[in-house]
Amino acid sequence: MRRLAYLVKEAMTNIRLNRTTTLVAVASTAFTLACFGVFLLLYLNLRGVVSSLQDDIKVVVYLHDGLSAQGLSDLQQRLRSEREVAALSYVSKEQALADFREQFPSESHLLQGLGENPLPASFVVTLSPRFRSSEAVKQWVKRLTTVPGVGQVQYSRDWIENLATLVGFIELGAIAVGGILSAASVTIIASTIRLTLYARQNEIEILRMVGATGAFIKVPFLLEGAVLGAVGGLLSLAILRGGFDLFKLQLGPTGRFLGIESWLNFFPGHVSLWIIMAGLALGFTGSLVSLIQFGRASS
């Protein structure tokens, strides 16, 4: 316990004594994680949007006009028995007309000249969560169009698919940018620790002479790297939070009007913790790389 306290004290003393290099390492880690965090924020928010849109996917099954009451009942039974269907509501021709008039009051004159109600009856289907993926919906709709009594089947597929593809690209971008910047951060932290190692070469030599094990010598440096990384992670979160709030402020009334503001969310607690842990891991790795290189150079 006393030995651990000594090692922690050594790490903290070293951080205090090497302010400039410490600052560079913390700043570079914070910058790296903030860049990665921007992608992550974008990705998580868009994924949230896509997910909520997919939750709202409704498939409208338009019926043939000549469908008998028995045919309607059979079709309703059949749809209810489908695994893909979570809920089902029937919209009669009359209801469809009433809805149209309510939603588009200025366009209602378009239907006046037609005499007979041209709008078909339909079933509005809410899909089960398990079958909301683009591919599952596509397969089911294809099967549904062959069912007797079913006219057209519509759902807002394309743009949701496009958004999902865009989220996929952002995910890839985040991984690539994160990978490159992480490597850069590890390199910078490794250089910082290496400078410290060379500055403390005599001290390390003395520790070796008095019987210190490799672990005893290395632990303060690993702790130092981990602390620098974690502080960098914390700083990156602060930068991201500031940027995020500023962005929301910039959106102002326009964002509120379009409903964008309600979609935007900062990282949940566990993701914030992961970012700090990522900083810690980067710092630790940087120290480890540096110690391995230093060990090779001094042996």
Binding site: R2, R3, Y6, T13, L17, N202, E203, E205, I206, L207, R208, M209, V210, G211, A212, T213, G214, F216
Partner: protein, 222 residues
């Protein structure tokens, strides 16, 4: 205690030590003499595992140093005390902390550390300066701190490399007297020096090295 069998060490194919055979008993005080470059430091380095011999075997307390794994070397050094010509004290730590270092790496308790450091500082007569930083001490005082650090752990063997090299004759004499006291308590001591004053004052077994060869050892009949 210490045995060397046909030990040789080369740097860039040039022999630093050639075919050294040596035996030092427990509790002996041995002086390793010779001019600069004779191989004194190399021999000490071989004993505390900072270098490995290219040929031969080295037994220290029945452990074959030449075959020790790197991870075992720290445990060998914990049974030794090492004194350097340039003191090698940590400038940012005070005298107490410097002397406590060997105990710290072994995880000694606070109570044990305080007791042993106080004893070691008293043994070399520097206990009144335990809160001072090395930079505020004279060369003789710094060397005393270095010796206190070397003996704090009650080592079985004490190795000293030119311990009086940076000291004036009076201080050198005091350091040798300190070694005599430590030796009298049972610690085996090997001091590498080229200072004839040390040889005269110590009046102990002298091993003479020249160009990496052991040319004089009364015990071996050389």
């Amino acid at each position: 205690m210490i045995q060397l069998f046909h030990v040789s060490k080369y740097y860039d194919r040039r022999p630093a030590l050639s075919d050294i055979n040596l035996q030092i008993e427990k509790g002996e005080f041995v002086l390793l003499m010779g001019p600069s470059g004779a191989g004194k430091t190399t021999l000490l380095k071989l004993l505390f595992g900072a270098e490995r011999p290219d040929d031969g075997q080295i037994l220290v307390q029945n452990r074959n140093v030449a075959r020790l794994r790197p991870s075992d070397i720290p445990y060998l050094r914990r049974t030794m005390g090492i004194v350097f010509q340039d003191f090698r004290l940590l400038p940012k730590k005070n005298v107490f902390e410097n002397v406590a270092l060997p105990l710290m790496v072994q995880g000694a308790s606070t109570f044990e550390t305080r007791r042993k450091v106080a004893e070691a500082l008293k043994a070399v007569g520097i206990d009144h300066k335990k809160d001072h930083r090395p930079a505020t001490l004279s060369a003789g005082e710094q060397q005393r701190v270095c010796i206190a650090r070397a003996i704090v752990n009650s080592p079985i063997i004490l190795l000293a490399d030119e311990p009086t090299g940076n000291l004036d004759p009076h201080l050198a004499s005091e350091i040798i007297e300190s070694f005599k006291v430590i030796n009298a308590r049972g610690t085996t001591i090997m001091v590498a020096t080229h200072n004839p004053q040390v040889m005269a004052q110590a009046n102990r077994r002298v091993l003479m090295l020249e160009q990496g060869k052991l040319i004089a050892d009364p015990k071996a009949g050389l």
